[in-house]
């Protein structure tokens, strides 16, 4: 009884602000304060551009190393995301979607990188702007490729439905396409990454507490093993969420281009 209270006393969960609210590194006190999240976003941009620069500069007919990695990713985006979802008309979107995929992937992966251990996408400051960019993009694409009238009609009024049902369906379509979509995109990514981040923090804190209170070292392997397993799982989640965000964006753009329904 005394031991367990000792352990509980040793578990010192940090307040949520301590694992999410980063102090400004520069421009503190201004609207454009630059903190760890901004640094990670810039870092993911730099890593992505760096990989492409290496792949492009050392390009050989038989790809190896970084070139192979980058080309495989581009190939994956081209075939699995663009051609399968949008078709030939979407090939112009490959660079855009590749950039989106890598940006989200690296911002997610920072969750498990030692000494960084913070996914930038666990902040709505990153996911809401991304979702809004996608939102504006697919609406602009729809209006430009089909014309405003035809685009909004095709998006809101399903074909072959009795007029009476339209009273019900149009508001639903309006809600699902123009309101829920950006919200869902932003919240899905943010929620997954925040949950993963908090899980890792939790098990790290428990492991640390057990290690410090050496009396309970016997059960230390359990949360420590869980921490290792969750780290692996979070790597999978990082890739999966980047893929989901990218493929949903492709679906929306494909619909806007006129291939939907």
């Amino acid at each position: 009884m005394e031991g367990s209270s000792l352990i509980l006393a040793g578990i010192n969960f940090p307040p949520i602000a301590e694992v999410l609210n980063w102090k400004p590194l520069a421009f503190g006190g201004t609207a454009y304060a630059f903190n760890k999240i901004g640094l990670l976003a810039l870092l993911s941009t730099a890593i992505t551009l760096g990989l492409f620069a290496i792949a492009g500069r050392r390009a050989s007919l038989v790809p190896r190393g970084v070139q192979n990695l980058v080309e495989s990713s581009v190939d994956f985006i081209t075939n699995t995301v663009v051609l399968d979802v949008i078709g030939q008309a979407g090939l112009a979107w490959v660079p855009w979607l590749t950039g989106l995929f890598f940006f989200i992937l690296f911002n997610n992966l920072f969750e498990v990188i030692p000494f960084i251990q913070m996914p930038a996408t666990a902040r709505t400051s990153v996911t809401i702007p991304l979702a809004l960019i996608v939102y504006v993009t697919f609406i602009v694409v729809g209006v430009r490729s089909q014309g405003a009238r035809k685009y909004f009609k095709s998006a809101l009024v399903p074909e072959g439905v009795p007029v009476a049902l339209l009273l019900l369906l149009v508001p639903i379509e309006l809600l699902s396409t123009f309101i829920v979509r950006p919200f869902a995109l932003a919240v899905r990514l943010f929620g997954n990454m925040l949950a993963g981040h908090l899980l890792l923090v939790t098990f790290a804190v428990i492991s640390e507490a057990l290690f410090v209170k050496s009396i309970a070292l016997v059960v230390l392997p359990l949360p420590a093993a869980m921490l290792v397993a969750l780290t692996g799982y979070e790597i999978f989640v990082a890739a999966l969420q980047a893929f989901i965000f990218t493929i949903l964006t492709a679906v929306y753009i494909g619909e806007a281009l006129g291939g939907g329904h």
């Binding site: 901004g38 993911s44 551009l49 500069r57 590749t98 400051s125």
Partner: protein, 173 residues
């Protein structure tokens, strides 16, 4: 202090600074990627696809050429075989013809040689007859002389012998 921070901080609400920097990062990424970083990679991938397509086409072309060449070789081989047969047949016919000619010429030569030998034989026989005649005349004279025991003169006997031999000669023809 920490409690105060956590109360004022809402983990769901975005912060202006983070929005600005993340949008800026993403904008830089898209612009630089689309303008500079992506094209070389895409160009290399297209080049590789093009190269593979060209290689496949070249292989197909080479295969077709090889097949055509094989057909041509087989045709030439069949032609050459027929030509060889024709040459052998011609040679056989020529050999037959030459054999006939050589045999005929041999026969002719044999005939000619036979006639020549016969002529030589006849001439030799004439010469022998003449020699025999002279010899016989001598022998007859000798014989007659011995028979007559020198009773007759040679000058008287010769015309008789000549006449006798002439008669004998006429009789032998």
């Amino acid at each position: 202090m920490l409690a105060a921070v956590s109360q004022s901080f809402n983990p769901i609400l975005p912060s202006a600074g983070e929005i600005i920097w993340s949008v800026l990062s993403f904008a830089i990424l898209l612009v630089v990627l689309a303008k500079f970083a992506f094209p070389p990679v895409a160009a290399m991938m297209n080049k590789r696809s093009e190269r593979i397509r060209e290689d496949l086409e070249a292989a197909e072309q080479a295969r077709r050429e090889a097949l055509a060449l094989k057909a041509q070789r087989e045709e030439e081989l069949a032609g050459a075989r027929m030509e060889a047969q024709r040459i052998v047949e011609d040679a056989r016919l020529l050999a037959e013809q030459m054999k006939g000619e050589i045999v005929a010429r041999g026969h002719q030569e044999i005939e000619a040689s036979k006639a020549q030998n016969e002529a030589l034989l006849a001439a030799e026989r004439g010469r022998v007859v003449l020699e025999l005649r002279a010899e016989l005349a001598g022998l007859a004279i000798e014989l007659s002389s011995r028979i007559l025991a020198h009773e007759l003169e040679r000058s008287e006997v010769d015309p008789l012998v000549e006449a006798f031999l002439a008669e004998a000669d006429a009789g032998s023809r």
